[in-house]
Amino acid sequence: MHAPPFSIFSAISELFVTAGVLYIIRRNWTRRTFSLAVFLAVALFEALVNVMYMARRSAEAASGAQAIAPGLRVFFALHGMLSLLAYLVFVIFGVLAYQEQRAGRFWFRDRPGVTWTFLVAWMISVISGEVLFAVRYLLP
């Protein structure tokens, strides 16, 4: 199946967003200044482009307009749910990290268990999105 241009854009940009997320956490982990500009750019871009794209595709899939295998639908739903929650948690953690750093504390560094759990969830969300893209558009 031919991949729509916006699907390709979203699949590639998601990797850059992930790089931004890792950059923010890495800086906090190594006790360096929280980059509010990068955080806001990543959070807004992810919401207005990638999450919006995912919500639109989900709504189209849910409308029944496209023929999608039942197994793929469940996988799509799981990916959609995880993506929404991962984004939600990222923004909340980012805000808390920003606030804590102003008081001289490093939120992610001080909570390694929470940080690693979030990173694993985020990576599963991104990888499952790339797998969906490959299954839907790249595999014969």
Binding site: A59, R73, F76, Q99
Partner: protein, 163 residues
Amino acid sequence: MTARRAAEHPRARRLRAPLLITLWVLFTIEAVGGLVIFFARLAWGVAPGETLHVVCGVALTLAYLIYQTRHWLRVAPPRARLDYALGIIAALAMIAANGFGLMLGVIWWRARTDPAGGAGIHYPPLLSAMHNIASLLVITFVLAHLGAVLARDRAPGGPPSET
């Protein structure tokens, strides 16, 4: 009023106000119910708890209108602070989520009251997507706003007096 209660920060009292508690209960029902509907519609083409979601959505809109008006009158004018910025984003997202949700509710109502109905309700994908994304932003930025305010309270120097 006891001395302990009199010494309590006004925010602690506001967080226990009946209107805010009502709002939190409706908000939780809508958030959890919305996520369940999102997942089930996509995975199996069904919408469990749709009626509850619509009814509580209308109640949430009304309670939110009252709460937001009072809240704004207390905290206005806007200030250049992160908690304000997050609160304004949350308010705009809430207006969008409720607005799109009510439009979906009208479609739901018409389908339910149509004597010729019976087949599944067809929601426009774009409208559905706008409601979903706005709702996600509401959950995200309401929690981030609350987190920022509470984190500010814990900062050295303690909470500011009224905002």
